[in-house]
């Protein structure tokens, strides 16, 4: 067992899949000789060569389009968006075309489109986004959002092996900030579509994913220490397909649920989860389903404003206390 960062775990997962399956190749901006903007593919160019680690022009629509075309032919492309914000440049390709290819034509499109999402790094409005909700709304795409090093690795491997298109949103704040001991041998796979209980509890549940798992865990610690509350944290890991059973199970267990995500509030993933709970577990609730999210504004650069907009541990604690009081 060696301690690895989230970033290194992702890199290991990519490397293992490239070694295992020669249909897998990587394409993206600066991923080759330069090793990627965040160095995710460092060393790949040397190991796999320029035929499988491909520096592309800054052409997101064509990167995703070319990946999809190659996938139709039986290859397994992993396309990197240098920042996930730029996936919007390939929005048409993903939503109009890729998401519907199997439905329309029976064409499998086993691509992975991955890239760094999220804020807390003073990236400003175009380098901090969390675009999952836009794609959650598009049937045909799968979405995964790892929070831990283990899942960073397990989910990239599962995504590459999946026969459907998978969007893999990795959080740039977590890249080098979290570490975990992972087994060095054996195939570490995280099943797509399965949530994980990150912390057991019986008083209330926080449903969350990606970097917010860590804020929820911090809040849970504080709530245990200061309020004697046993908070359960459910890490969704996959947004599509959503693990409804795990969501219902935690509602039935604690009867009080809140949802935390970093994306803006209106039309966010939390609204969808709340609706599902309403439909499937309404009679189990002892209080309203509450949300902690970013405010509905573009993400400002100024540190004071960014901190104010994005969910902080204290926000999670405050809303949990309100919920616990029901």
């Amino acid at each position: 067992m060696a301690e690895v960062t989230y970033l290194e775990a992702l890199r290991q997962g990519l490397r293992e899949e490239m070694r295992r399956d020669e249909r897998v190749f990587i394409l993206g901006e600066d991923v080759g000789a330069y090793g990627g903007a965040f160095k995710v593919t460092e060393g790949f160019y040397e190991e796999f060569g320029e035929a499988r680690v491909i520096d592309t022009p800054i052409s997101e629509a064509a990167i995703v389009g070319a990946a999809a075309g190659a996938a139709h032919m039986g290859l397994r492309p992993v396309a990197e968006m240098q920042f996930i914000d730029f996936i919007s440049c390939a929005y048409d390709m993903l939503t109009n075309y890729v998401a519907t290819a199997r439905y329309r034509a029976g064409l499998p499109t086993p691509i992975v489109v991955r890239g760094p999402c999220g804020g807390y790094v003073r990236g400003g409005p175009f380098h901090s986004q969390n675009p999952e909700a836009a794609f959650l709304h598009t049937p045909g795409l799968k979405i995964v959002c790892p929070a831990t090093a283990r899942d960073a690795k397990g989910l990239i491997k599962a995504a590459i092996r999946d026969d459907d298109p998978v969007l893999y949103f990795e959080h740039k704040f977590l890249y080098r900030r979290i570490k975990e001991a992972l087994p060095e041998d054996g195939d570490l796979l995280t099943p797509i579509g399965k949530a994980r209980i990150a912390r057991e509890g019986r008083d209330l549940s926080i449903i969350t994913y990606s970097a917010m798992v860590w804020k929820a865990l911090e809040a849970a610690e504080i709530l245990e220490r200061e309020d004697g509350l046993a908070v359960e944290v459910l890490d969704l890991r996959t947004l599509v397909p959503m693990d409804d059973d795990a969501i219902v199970a935690t509602v039935e267990k604690t009867n009080k649920v809140m949802i935390v995500h970093e994306d803006t509030r209106t039309g966010g993933v939390a609204g969808e989860i709340a609706a599902r709970i309403n439909e499937r577990a309404f009679e189990w609730l002892d209080g309203p389903v509450l949300r902690v999210t970013a405010a509905d504004v573009p993400l400002p650069y100024a540190p004071t404003l960014e901190d104010y907009v994005l969910p902080q541990t204290a926000d999670v604690v405050a809303v949990a206390r309100r919920l616990a009081a029901y």
């Binding site: 394409l27 080759g32 330069y34 320029e50 035929a51 914000d85 400002p300 650069y301 100024a302 004071t304």
Partner: protein, 350 residues
């Protein structure tokens, strides 16, 4: 598997990206005061960027910050050829254009610091400088995104019957994006008064142009749109000024766009997160280009022509240093934006 093997051009050496004739424009007939002003503008950018880098290291500036060091002659030469009522839009590497356009070191530095007094109220940061009064339509952090927007600005100028021009600045890596082709085709088709200024500094983030471009002669791409084009020495402030002036005249008088490929070089890493060399370029290459540093060569030429003496140069350095010092102090002492500013301007205020 040979999927996507990038084309290699063995004849492509760094020098090959320089324009064929790098002979400096003659100084005779130029106004010495004007030339000294150009020098001062370049020097202001250089010293500003050096300080910005330092303040970044100190944690006063955060996020992603792209310095303009090495490319000063492009912004300064271009702005010298534009009028105050023209329009300018840039990429995220736009501190230099902002300063050359007269945004003021204070308001730019304060924006980098994320302060309420910054030109975007602290909401934009390094990549999103903006100033309506100076018709500086901003930095754009999506590569190539500003190119269609400038086409639109040029469209509006023509629609209203004005004689202004709209100028877009972008890097050579942006020309492989669909936005570039779509926007240039429109501008040529509709005969719009636009100037597309491609700052070819040879690299995107860490990838050389020839690794991602089937043709690396960017000016040649203008043929696709039957558009006027020129290749310009971007280390030569007067050459840039004159080329932009020709393009502006073409735009004002004939209402047609121009593509300028300005060959320049960035002396620093792509952003503050990147090393200056290694991985994608050698130290020797960087040094070789520094030999043409406009901040060294231009004062040299002015001296030789008797337009600048040692005393004048020292005074200019001191003056610029004081301006930068003042800007840093101003930024440091300025207040953070109030949380109440947060939801302002998402929509029009009632």
């Amino acid at each position: 598997m040979a999927a996507g093997r990038p084309r290699r051009r063995d004849d492509l050496k760094p020098q090959a990206l320089r324009p064929k004739e790098a002979t400096p424009s003659p100084l005779a007939g130029e106004s010495p005061a004007e030339l000294r002003r150009l020098l001062r503008d370049m020097l202001l950018i250089r010293r500003f960027e050096e300080r910005a880098g330092e303040q970044y290291a100190l944690g006063k500036i955060g996020g992603f910050c792209h310095l303009y060091i090495g490319q000063e002659a492009v912004a300064v030469g271009s702005m010298a050829a534009l009028r105050p009522d023209d329009y300018v839009m840039c990429s995220y590497r736009e501190h230099g254009q902002a300063l050359a356009r007269g945004l003021g070191a204070r308001s730019v530095m304060a924006e980098l610091f994320g302060k309420a007094t910054g030109c975007s109220g602290g909401k934009g940061g390094s990549m999103h400088l903006f100033d309506a009064e100076r018709r500086f339509l901003g930095g754009h952090a999506i590569v190539g995104g500003q190119i269609p927007l400038v086409t639109g600005a040029a469209f509006a100028i023509k629609y209203r019957g004005g004689d202004q021009v709209a100028a877009a600045f972008f890097g050579e890596a942006a020309v492989n994006n669909g936005a570039f082709h779509e926007a240039l085709n429109m501008a040529a088709l509709w005969k719009l008064p636009a100037i597309y200024i491609c700052e070819n500094n040879r690299y995107g983030m860490g990838t050389a142009a020839e690794r991602v471009s089937a043709i690396y002669d960017i000016a040649a791409r203008a043929c696709s749109y039957d558009m006027a084009a020129e290749t310009v020495d971007g280390m030569e402030v007067l050459a840039v000024r004159d080329a932009v002036a020709r393009a502006a005249t073409r735009a004002r008088e004939q209402q047609v766009p121009t593509l300028l490929e300005v060959r320049t070089y960035r002396f620093m890493g792509h952003s503050m997160a990147d090393p200056i060399h290694g991985h994608y370029r050698t130290k020797e290459e960087v040094e070789q280009h520094k030999a043409r540093d406009p901040i060294a060569t231009f004062p040299e030429r002015l001296r030789a022509a008797g337009m600048l003496d040692e005393e004048g140069w020292q005074a200019m350095e001191a003056d610029v240093a004081a301006e930068i010092e003042d800007a840093v102090r101003f930024a440091d002492e300025s207040p953070d934006p109030e949380p109440s500013a947060l939801s302002a301007h998402v929509y029009r205020e009632a």
